[in-house]
């Protein structure tokens, strides 16, 4: 903050990389005129972890756990996307019971993710009571996931070719009971976010994204659905058990922050319905099909619906027990452009709300992009070259 005070209208407020509104590092440069935002620039990449490179040095099984750790909140869906892709490459059919358990866990994960988001967003809006209560109730679903898998986060449900555990009647009852409680609470929260006058002051009519904008900006997931864009991989291109347990799409028309709250909360009811249905009609059979340790040569893409939107995997195998290349695109990166567009014209105080409205997950989206440039720009760096570049860069900065 040692920069000169600029008192004309181009007063920029930096948000991040370290800022209380952001629980993860990223940088927004907000230009304000008084309290009104006139421009916004985003800079990502502070949490790049080199996961895509790391998976190239581990075997197919180990990568399952590496990729699960891309995101702590939607860990299961990453592993599922990867499994679906690898199973497709290997030509292995996963038994229906295992598929159903995968979907069940994915829906439980969606519940926990959406609860988490409503809490965080309420906190950004300055409504800490809602935050505290919703996180209290989120413990219910965390406990259910623990009873089911043995872990509260990173449940490691999947293995290549199936799932690790079965569901017994006792667990099924625990889940049903938990869902009854959650459903009652969810009704209450839906009432709060759509009717509380003070809360609506901070969400209604803020960050409005029209349907056209949502399509042009390429948004995905609940962010798009809140603008009435019918985009949901579970419905458009069902995978796994979603063929047998079709999901209904939840849409809202207004496209403002309230709609984003409402869409996510209404999606919870859809998840409750799917989970109950799966528990009642769980197909019997095996939990696993044996997978070869080496995967046939080939490449594939795989799309799944993560809680935040479409998750995309590209997997390429060269016939060994390690992948040749895995490329991942997480939903946040698709939604990020909408933030810098939508904040313009709003109050500074609304910026954190609009940002949080897309349910951003920064460490998921920080991944390297290599540009193909005609001027001989190197696409691949050796370790030595990278090190030399670092040294040169440092000298340049300090000479």
């Amino acid at each position: 903050m040692m920069e000169k005070k600029i008192m004309d209208e181009t007063f920029t407020v930096p948000i991040g990389p370290q800022h209380p509104a952001l629980k993860e590092p990223s940088h927004f440069r907000i230009t304000v005129d008084g309290e009104i935002v006139t421009n916004a620039v985003v800079r990502l990449g502070y949490a790049h972890r080199g996961i895509e490179k790391a998976v190239e040095g581990r075997n197919w099984i180990q990568n399952l756990y590496m990729l699960e750790r891309i995101c702590g909140i939607c860990s299961h869906i990453h592993a599922t996307a990867y499994c679906l892709g690898v199973e497709q490459l290997a030509g292995v059919e996963v038994p229906p019971r295992a598929q159903a358990i995968r979907v069940l866990t994915a829906e439980l994960e969606r519940i926990h993710s959406h609860f988490l988001w409503v809490g965080v967003a309420a906190h950004e809006a300055g409504f800490d009571t809602l935050f505290m209560y919703i996180w209290r109730d989120r413990e219910t679903v965390m406990d259910l996931l623990e009873t089911l898998s043995g872990n509260r986060v990173n449940y490691s449900v999947n293995i290549l070719g199936g799932v690790k555990f079965d569901i017994n009647e006792e667990q099924a009852d625990a889940i049903r009971k938990g869902l009854d409680y959650l459903e009652e609470r969810t009704n209450h929260y839906l009432d709060v976010v759509s009717n509380d006058a003070m809360f609506l002051q901070r969400t209604s009519g803020i960050g409005v994204m029209t349907r056209n904008q949502a399509e042009v900006l390429g948004t995905v997931g609940p962010t798009a659905r809140a603008s009435n864009v019918a985009r949901d991989v579970r419905v458009e291109a069902p995978y796994g058990a979603y063929f047998d347990y079709p999901a209904n799409i939840v849409l809202e028309e207004r496209g403002d922050l309230t709609a984003r709250f409402v869409v996510r909360i209404k999606e919870l009811f859809e998840s409750y319905r799917l989970i109950r249905l799966i528990l009642d009609t769980l197909p019997s059979g095996d939990l696993e099909t044996r997978m070869p340790r080496r995967i046939k040569e080939g490449e594939t893409v795989c799309r799944v619906e993560a809680p935040r939107g479409e998750l995309f995997y590209f997997i390429k195998s060269n016939g060994t027990d390690m992948p040749e290349r895995i490329k991942i695109r997480t939903p946040t990166i698709c939604n990020m452009t909408s933030v810098v567009k939508l904040v313009i014209g709003h109050q500074l105080a609304d910026v954190p709300m609009i940002l949080v409205g897309i349910d951003p997950c920064f460490s998921c989206n920080d991944r390297m992009v290599i540009l193909d440039r005609s001027d001989g720009y190197k696409q691949q760096w050796t370790w030595e070259a990278l090190r030399q570049h670092g040294i040169d860069y440092y000298h340049e900065q300090h000479s």
Binding site: M2, T12, H19, G126, D128, T129, F199, Q347, V351
Partner: protein, 313 residues
């Protein structure tokens, strides 16, 4: 002669440094801060801090290094927290803390008290604009904007009881309001006074000036160590004084320590419940709220009171 002056002044010194202002009030402020946090936690189904937490915070802050950032006026930077706290402590001398008679009294001391309380907010705003930090600057602007919006309604709301007591001296008003529950005859005034107090103390939903998710800690972002500790003590003191004023004016007086604690803590519970129920307002919404509703409500209250008195006499 020197010794007699000192002897004569001992009660004054005690009043200034130990009781009711000074040390006692500081501890009282910390206790109310704890009660505020604990009650809020209870309402949110959490545990909340233990009783010594605010004290521990203050001791920690006092023990820490105070960083004076580049580009500030160091005299102001160090002086402002002291003035803020001193303003609060001085105000306490005119207020019936723990139900005792005010230590000092003079005609018109109500106005003095209200202005001494505003000194805190003013210092906060100045402290923010003294630094180069953007968050502080935005915070300071918001603090001062907020000051101008609730100040007039707050004053008018406290002058309502003064009007019916026909005096601007706190001790006279409290004698008048003793066992007269003005909340019944001036409910709007009471409401506005409580909400304005929340605005003054920047409690939620009026915490836009220090909204951590937008501007970190607002005007106090650059403060650490002693300065921050003094500002926090000042806020605690202002909380106690504000609650005392409202309780003694509107809630039938606080003539003994028992009544004082019962009434101020009940009032605090109301304040906490409002904090828990309401969502933070944007600064423009705060201003709009005060000028559109707050001021009008008190003016309506005034009108009713004046007409009523005209009819009665």
């Amino acid at each position: 002669m020197g010794s007699t002056t000192i002897m004569n002044n001992i009660p004054n010194l005690v009043a200034l440094l130990i009781f009711p202002a000074g040390l006692f009030l500081l501890l009282c402020g910390l206790f109310y801060e704890w009660a505020d946090r604990k009650l809020l936690a209870q309402l949110q189904n959490r545990i909340g801090p233990r009783w010594f937490q605010p004290l521990a915070d203050i001791i920690k802050l006092l023990a820490k290094e105070e960083v004076i950032p580049d580009g500030v006026n160091p005299t102001l930077f160090i002086g402002l927290p002291i003035i803020a706290l001193a303003g609060g402590l001085t105000a306490a001398l005119y207020v019936p803390i723990v139900g005792l008679l005010p230590s000092y009294g003079l005609p018109g001391d109500l106005i003095i008290t209200i202005y001494l309380l505003s000194l805190l907010t003013l210092c906060l705003g100045l402290a923010g604009s003294n630094t180069l930090d953007r968050f502080s600057l935005v915070g300071a602007t918001r603090t001062l904007t907020q000051l101008f919006s609730y100040e007039a309604p707050f004053m008018l709301a406290l002058l309502g009881p003064a009007f019916v007591a026909r005096s601007w001296q706190i001790s006279v008003i409290t004698t008048f309001t003793n066992n007269r529950w003005l909340i019944l005859s001036q409910p709007l005034g009471f409401l506005v006074a409580v909400i304005a107090l929340m605005g003054k103390l920047e409690l939620p939903p009026f915490d836009a000036p220090e909204a951590e998710t937008e501007i970190v800690a607002g005007a106090l972002t650059e403060y650490s160590g002693r300065g921050l500790a003094l500002f926090r003590l000042g806020k605690g003191v202002a909380l106690v004084i504000g609650l005392t004023l409202i309780a003694s004016f509107y809630l039938g007086g606080v003539t003994n320590p028992f009544l004082f604690f019962v009434k101020t803590l009940t009032l605090l519970l109301v304040v906490v419940a409002l904090q828990a129920l309401l969502t933070r307002l944007r600064i423009d919404q705060t201003v709009g709220l005060w000028w559109r509703y707050g001021t009008l409500l008190v003016l309506a209250q005034w009108l009713v009171t004046i007409v009523w008195h005209g009819v009665a006499t």
